[in-house]
Symmetry: C3
Subunit: 144 residues, 3 copies
């Protein structure tokens, strides 16, 4: 079965630093607290962002540049391991002054103000491994 069961660990609220890079800040925060597995959400605003869309036929990411201030209307993801190191998989919906939205896989973003809610998961540590069907690094549950 491609699943694991976890017990809830600590829950953190964290105010991300103004001008920090959002994705790296989440990973660095988790490292500092020795969190290995987690799920999280973020609300706030960013100064600029890079989203990505995965081309399912070509197996490659296309970048979407957003060089403007945007609200983080929705941002959620999970933390697991990739190449033995903490890795954050983050998706986001961003909104401009007219309420128009841009969304996808979040590569990076510069924080204006952002509040992280992170739920630590206690149990099996999942490692991402290359999946030939999709070309993506997906969770390997082992012992099927």
């Amino acid at each position: 079965m491609q699943s694991s069961s976890y017990r809830p660990g600590r829950i953190f609220l964290y105010k991300l630093e103004h001008n920090s890079e959002l994705v790296r800040s989440i990973v660095d925060f988790a490292k500092g607290k020795r969190v290995k597995m987690a799920v999280f959400t973020v609300v706030g605003a960013v100064k600029q962002a890079r989203l990505a869309y995965y081309d399912q036929a070509r197996h490659e990411y296309q970048q979407i540049k957003l060089d403007q201030p945007l609200e983080i209307a929705s941002c959620s993801g999970n933390l697991s391991l990739k190449d033995g190191k903490p890795f954050a998989h983050v998706h986001a919906v961003l909104a401009d002054a007219a309420g128009k939205t841009y969304a996808g896989h979040l590569i990076r973003a510069t924080v204006f103000a952002a509040e992280l809610h992170l739920q630590e998961l206690l149990g099996k540590k999942l490692e991402r491994e290359y999946d030939p069907t999709t070309g993506l690094a997906l969770w390997e549950f082992g012992g099927r």
Copy 2:
């Protein structure tokens, strides 16, 4: 009071199968784990999707066909009972190659790659029942 209080049960991480139907996969996963009540989120990508918009005046759903690969920028919902069986209420924000978004009630979608985070809720099992004001199947808390 139209609410219930729950204790946190198991938390699951589940890799949905490539080419499976997303909403049914969540319900089937919950059934397999004997989960009755839950809240969940999904990140990933789909090959195609059917969203719905509820016409609040006519009391009927209008379908939105999306026959293209899309990122799951946000997907969240809950699991309760309808007609005595597990039922998933799912909303989603999907994004295309330009970062343009499509959103609403998620009827079904074909999984390209998707990661489910499901929080089991221990406590009162809620059943959905017809609500004449909205025409929707809403939670019945009973014993008001």
Copy 3:
């Protein structure tokens, strides 16, 4: 460190009242249950809404009026204190009949039908205080 660690408290499912104001309903519900700190999500639909975009240069919110029925495609946020009183910070992605989205900071909305999932957080009560860098009321963790 600009963070606090919490233990999970009660989890609530709450059916918001038809025609109630969404943001105030969340705050009033939390007050009624004596919840001080929480994170939450909402799925459902609204009759109309007011979103806001924060102008990062001028340090002021711009309002976005949406006078039409909309699906709540995503809605998440947190509850903490501001001026000593419970305050909900809510962001949302709303969708119209064509699946087109409008998103940002949610000021208020009239509920058509909505389901709240609220996770109580047990631990330090955070108070929002004026932050001169952003002009926003951000969490003050104290004792740095």
